[in-house]
Amino acid sequence: MRARGGVYFAICLLLLTAYVIATSLTFRYPRDRVLLVLAGSVAFVLSAVQLTRELRTKHSLQPGAEVEAKEAVAAQPERRRIGSALGWTAGLVAGVYVLGLIVAIPLFLFSYMKMHGVGWPKAMSLAAITTIIVYLAFKLGLKVALYPGVLLPPL
């Protein structure tokens, strides 16, 4: 599974660097494109080398169907955990966008902790403490106007 992921990653890099070179060549001034073309070209060649290595590694390993199936099973809980963490992260981004930082942060903290077995008093107090820290550090300390969200008026 690791080898396959590595192959996909190398392919993405190859495509990305090809795109960078192609787009950079359309820039009007040499000042805009010299380093981009240089860095992009070297990165493209190295990505091709890496892709070849990844494909060779996979080929030389030749894992049997049984081994692959075992690896897939072992990777499932990890994927689930990563999926869950990314889901919560995306939820926080969406929450901040809609409700703003000062409302979304305590809501996120409280619901995450409750969903992961933390008791009511602890979850509530930690959510409140973190929100207060954020408010004191950013709003009062750094004088940053905290994002109010699209629903609520600014603080």
Binding site: F9, L46, E78, R81, I82, A85, L126
Partner: protein, 499 residues
Amino acid sequence: MLDAFLQGGLAVFQPAFLFMMLVGVVLGTVIGILPGIGAIFALSVMIPFVYRMPPELGMGFLVAMVSVTATSGAITSILLGIPGTGINVATVMDGFPMTKKGEGSRALGACVASSMFGGLVGALLAIPMIPLVVPLVMALGTGEMVLIIALGLVCMATVLEGSAVKGLISGLMGVILALIGTNSLTGTSRFTFGNIFLYDGLGLVPVVLGLWGVASLLEMMAKGQTAISKVAAKAEISGMLRGIRDVFRHKWLWLRSTVIGYVIGVIPGVGGAEATYMAYGHAKQTSKHPEEFGTGTVEGVIAPESANNSMEGGALLTTMVFGIPGSPHMALLIGAFFMVGLIPGPPMVREHLPLTFTLLVGVAVANVMAGILCLTTSRQLVKVAFVPLNLLFPMMLAIMFAAAFAAKVSIFNLLVVTLFGVIGFLMGKFGYSRPALMLGFVLGRLFEEYLNQAIEIHGPLFFLSPTSLVLTGIIVLAVTFPYWKGFSRRLRSGEARPT
């Protein structure tokens, strides 16, 4: 030069500077205790907070924080067998067996004393080097600066563990990412896709927070850790005093390890882990009883701990004077220098020489502060390692998102943090170098500026001056170094094989 040293050295003892360093030391100590979370994570979370501080206070705070994470990171290595940071791994080999033998407090005393004195001497060794390297730095022109930056990228990409090809790809991708946005000289928008947010380029803060902060949290979640540690441990005063006496008993080993750490720190791109392993190996080779290493001998704690702290002075010297990071976390520190308006390398030496001295003296003072803090509070500090991950994850994520928003007062930054969190996680999973990408990202714009100037002044063959040729030779050596290393290893194993 003497004036600059006196001015810079005395500035450390200004109340505001001392206070910021104390805050940095306390934070660095607490963060160092958390296993898996080291100087890089600490920097990524704290860089946004120095954004609006005066440069000397902000950098004093960050430098103090990163200088001491290794000291406290050793506490969990010794008492729990879990390295607090990557550079404390060598300490586990003898530190934890000592705890199992009932000598944990002794190991802790030896560790804190050797770290404190190692860090102090490492920083003091760096100070007299400045007058020697300043004329060299001042003689560098734009062509040489292009090659110096390229050398930094190559060193960061190839000298660290892992694939050199992946390291180089990462560094180059960092350069490409740095060039997103409007070119201030020509007005051309590059890879902005018409998005106003991207006209200014990607910000340092969200990229750092994503690449290390969010990615580290995702890595911990992927491993399925429910709590950072569950093992109980304790620290006693009498044993710690015995450990301190051990450092004086093995003073020559301590001194040799300190020098090893310092020299490794000066070499661009080489991290503390190499310094600790080299010092540990040296201690074992020169010991009268090498067979006891790994079973819980105090020399096995003194050697790596003195090396990992003395490394910081050497690494900071290379970072500030040449603009090349002496270790992976120094790549982030370079970003912080840029953010507060300081340019590491010749401009730093030319315009802020007293501050260069201030920060080096600051490292020495921070190590003393951290030593005293760890000796007096290690019993309480070790409890930090018991913070459950289901509390740490949401709290850190919320604070990092708030920091990312504050850096540009833009909601778009949250998407950048998340995106780079995923990229950082995948890079770690597939063995690509995050420090190299970071360095490329931080130096990319400066690289382009120097390159364009060098081509305009000297033409496309700017790298043919004598100094440039020497630098080009060093770059070629650095690129081929991993292959030479692999070749000589294969040769040795071939020789060792029975015929």
